[in-house]
């Protein structure tokens, strides 16, 4: 099969389009999350997503309709993490730990109470981008536009917040609102990314492209651009390779992203050696 033939399949086109949308969001948000040392919020929210999927399956929902349950649950959980971290004398890591373990526990309970472990849940754990439906793609497109518009609107505010929270506050930037916004945008993105790489690997899609970009970029804007580029390479490359070699797409995407991170790391080491000599 030629690459041209490959791209003529409707399901491959849908998978690539959804992958590109999700990849861009994860790459941009990932830069802010990694630099704010909030990488694991993605992991915590992914576990909550698992619980929300189990809840949706328990309620008998399928496909895009499941997002009606997942989106509000994960959004609430993201704000819950912030609230717990701020009010309950907890660090962010403990708050994420609590919320994510509650998510998994609820997921397991509901699955057992409902219909037992099934193929459906497995596909959400490890992703099934090649099976994305038109309705799911439409929802992904809508969320992509929403998240990207908010990122565009608050981009420089988020850069200032990421650099130093107190200086941002003294510049009149609404720090609490922005922290909430960042958590909410992450929640929306995590729910979307579940279809692409699965609950288990979502945080990697947030962390790896941003971390690879941080190895080589010289400036904030360049970091964001490179993070998007690396993410797209991993997502598009991963989907194509996984289809051609009959491999699971989520795991292939993440391993490709890790490879790009390794290349970035090696590049940085070589630059350091070159600068010293």
């Amino acid at each position: 099969m030629t690459i041209f033939e490959l791209f003529s399949y409707g399901f491959i086109q849908r998978a690539l389009l959804a992958g590109v949308l999700i990849g861009v969001l994860c790459a941009v948000l990932g830069v802010f999350l990694v630099l704010r040392r909030l990488s694991l919020i993605g992991d915590g929210l992914a576990h909550i997503t698992f619980g929300s999927v189990a809840l949706a399956l328990f309620a008998g929902l399928q496909g895009a309709a499941m997002l009606l349950v997942s989106l509000p649950v994960v959004l609430l959980a993201s704000l819950g993490i912030l609230k717990l971290a701020g009010k309950a004398r907890l660090g962010g890591d403990a708050a994420i730990g609590i919320v994510s373990s509650v998510g998994v526990s609820l997921g397991v309970l509901l699955t057992v109470l409902g219909r037992g472990y099934g193929v459906d849940l497995f596909s959400y754990l490890f992703g099934s981008i090649l099976a994305i439906s038109k309705a799911e793609l439409l929802v992904a497109g809508g969320l992509f536009i929403t998240v990207l518009a908010l990122l565009w609107l608050y981009y420089n505010d988020l850069v200032a917040l990421t650099f130093n929270e107190e200086l941002a506050a003294v510049s009149g930037i609404r720090v609490r609102f922005l922290n909430g916004l960042l958590a909410a945008l992450t929640a929306l993105t995590v729910v979307l990314a579940m279809k692409l790489v699965g609950v288990m690997l979502i945080s990697a899609l947030l962390i790896l492209p941003a971390s690879a970009a941080l190895q080589v970029a010289r400036g904030f804007r360049m970091t964001v651009v490179l993070s998007v580029l690396f993410s797209l390479l991993a997502v598009v490359g991963g989907i194509v390779i996984s289809f051609l070699l009959n491999l699971p797409s989520g795991a292939t995407i993440i391993l490709l992203a890790f490879l790009l991170f390794c290349v970035g790391y090696l590049f940085r080491q070589l630059q350091t050696v070159k600068n010293k000599s």
């Binding site: 565009w152 850069v159 107190e166 506050a169 003294v170 510049s171 904030f220 804007r221």
Partner: protein, 249 residues
Amino acid sequence: MQELISVEQLTCRHGAVEALSDISFKVTAGDYLGIVGPNGSGKSTLVRALLGLMPAYQGKISLFGQLRDSFSAWERLGYLPQNMGPLNPAFPATVFEVVQLGLLAGKGLPRRFCRHDRKQVLDMLELLGIEHLQRRMIGELSGGQQQRAMLARALVNNPELLIMDEPTAALDPDIRDRFYELVSQMNKDKGTTVLLVTHDTGTIGQYASRMLYLDKKVLFFGSFDEFCHSPEMSAFFGEHSQHLICHRH
């Protein structure tokens, strides 16, 4: 003269410990106020309370005639914090990008930078003699270079009020002198009001017009001439130290 800062009967607590007690003072436009006092005297707490970075307090704080809690004219104010913690060495911004962030306060959403902002940043970098660092990553600079970049960030918006907390701590002596002269020049030529926190009691009298001596409460607030002739301050510091601080002889 316009009152830029007004503090009335301010009391701040760190948990159960009272860090500041019954502080009252005013800063008017054109003042250069040095806030001095020993370590742990509450200098930084006072600055953080002024800027709304420390919520728990009693008393009344006003900035530019507006109550602090409803204050919104942040573009009129420049702030240089005590230390940024060691700046995250992985933070991927260039010096230019960091200084540019100082212009955000004057902008409405979506906050974007224009060509004029670029010129303003370059002019400020040149004024502080660090234009050659503009493309360097902030995390790769020495402590003194980082401090100058952060000063450029605080000054780039041409603030009417400049608040600095121990700004010379990471600077070499010759750069420290240039720094003091630059701030004095801004105070005299542009009328920038300066509030400078320092434990450098030996130097501040050369530059500031007024002093607030703090040790959890106000021990002295007034001009250096008043300080110099105050019998209470002679009794508190001893005459020798008193005149070393006032720099009037």
